[in-house]
Amino acid sequence: MAITVSASDNALPGAPLSARLTPPQVWGIVLLAPYLLVFLAFVLYPVGYGLWLARQPSSYVALAHDPIFARAAVNTLIFLVIGINLKMLIALFLSGFFVQERRWIKWLSVIFILPWAVPSIPTILSVRFMLNPEWGMVNQLIFKFTGDDGPNWLNDPSVALAMAIGVHIWKSLPFWTLILITGRLAISHDLFEAAAVDGATFWQKFRYITWPSMQTLYVTCTLLSMIWTLGDFNSVYLLTGGGPADLTHVLSTLGIRYLRLDQLNLAMASIVCAMPLVLPLVYFMMKRLSR
């Protein structure tokens, strides 16, 4: 981690601490203290304690023998690699749509933010009932039009996972689209006008103007979204509860499942297993943001 402590330049070694500090510096320390306390009590201590709990090799042996863990790890990878990339591609596409200057698109963008603005619990539960095989709206529609019974959406692990990814995309797509819109609006309009004069096609404008100016932002967003999605508990838990037969767990819901079963060391061990994935992403993001 690129962490540097910038010591004050005029510090005289040997003098008592209070004499070395100017009044603003004393205030600086006083004002920084509340956050430091929060950090020590609710981040450093829990994380340290958690890592200490996860120290026994036997926990990892137990994890390796738990088929639910292997399944959850695979599900998490699918969620991240397919779900996030799909979401970011759609967001990239839609950001191009929303920068079009039309009155109705302005209004649509206001509505489009709703999934992000409303809490996820009621909306995810709403989707959960829509997918109910007997009473849900989706299957009743399928029955009305085809006369067949629809699939049992949440009872098939791969379909259920796909639905959880869908819910996740529904919830967070507006946020990332908004960010990419600000990225697009930052591109100078002159570039597009010049390209239009030269007779550039739509694709050429994207390939040679839009993408080069947005790729850093796009990659940053993708990585950030991956880190956050690792902690997305609601999309899976509230839609499938990890079921059927614990086959749709991701690492975040699995950790909580172990916790609820009072297997705290397993919970921590499963989180430690995610660290090889998390830490490189965090390192990269820290380097990018702490400049």
Partner: protein
């Protein structure tokens, strides 16, 4: 009046071809929730797009607490409100103080603390929840509102500090220097120069923290468990415990619960979009 050219019509048609699916995709879960809220039970379960007999009866049941699952509705609503307000206030206090200290006073080690905060920001929330639960038990705070408040302040403040630091780095340093020349103390600079100038960012961060706490499910459901202590989202999750859940009441309560954050979001939208998206990802 000029008739639109064929080219214009086809562009417009293509835009509509994107816009209509976007609208449907966005609205379906929300409309479905609303539909349940205004439907009697039979209509809700029949898969109709509009109930035969739309009614506000569900709202009446919720507001009169006339169901087993709803008997603590008001106290749970109040819990959500108090916790969200406390998280907003505490986060603002902690983060503003830290950002002022790091960015304006350039306290020794400030950069290190900033990095600690950023690191915390990148710990996935569901991962921190596991050791946090155990720590709260050690501190004896489980089933106490303070556990949720402090946990949410922990989660909200790193981002808050970071956004506020970015914003205060943009304020010209001459302001502080001029105030010092005029004989202002550090606290006077904080109160009379810094806070007024930072107001738009403070509104954005306060709103962010309040919404984060109001919407939180996982931590609330881990840290609080008594029916009279829990917040509304946990109560909504508890509806699922029964096999014959009254879904129309669940959706009605959910609809009521979703209204305040949506209203707050739209009321403060101009601060939120400027303050948060600019800070969220710096490229």
């Amino acid at each position: 009046m000029k008739l639109p050219t064929l080219r214009e019509v086809s562009t417009e048609a293509r835009l509509l071809l994107i816009g209509i699916p976007v609208f449907v995709w966005t609205m379906v879960p929300i409309y479905h929730m609303f539909l349940f809220a205004i439907s009697p039970k039979e209509d809700a379960f029949s898969g109709k797009f509009w109930p035969d007999h739309p009614t506000l009866h569900n709202f009446e049941i919720v507001f009169r607490e006339q169901h087993y699952f709803l008997r603590d509705f008001y106290i749970q609503f109040w819990n959500s409100l108090v916790i969200a307000a406390a998280v907003g206030a505490l986060t603002l206090f902690v983060a503003t103080a830290a950002a002022f200290s790091i960015s304006r006073l350039r306290v020794p080690g400030g950069r290190f603390v900033m990095n600690l905060a950023l690191f915390t920001y990148f710990i996935p929330a569901a991962f921190l929840a596991v050791p946090m639960y155990r720590t709260m038990a050690t501190y004896g705070l489980l089933n106490n509102h303070w556990s949720l408040i402090l946990a949410m302040v922990t989660i909200a403040s790193p981002y808050a500090i970071w956004v506020l630091k970015q914003a205060s780095d943009k304020l010209p340093v001459e302001l502080d220097e001029a105030a010092v020349v005029d004989g202002a103390t550090t606290l006077q600079i904080f109160r009379l120069v810094y806070l007024p100038l930072m107001m738009p960012s403070l509104v954005a961060i306060g709103t962010y923290a309040v919404l984060l706490a109001w919407n939180e499910y996982l931590y609330a459901f881990l840290l609080l468990s008594n029916d009279r202590d829990i917040t509304l989202p946990v109560a909504l999750g508890n509806f699922l415990a029964a096999d014959d859940s009254p879904w129309e009441l669940l959706m009605t309560t959910g609809f009521i619960y979703a209204l305040p954050p949506a209203a707050i979001y739209y009321a403060f939208k101009r601060y939120m979009v400027g303050g948060l998206t600019a800070g969220a990802v710096k490229s």
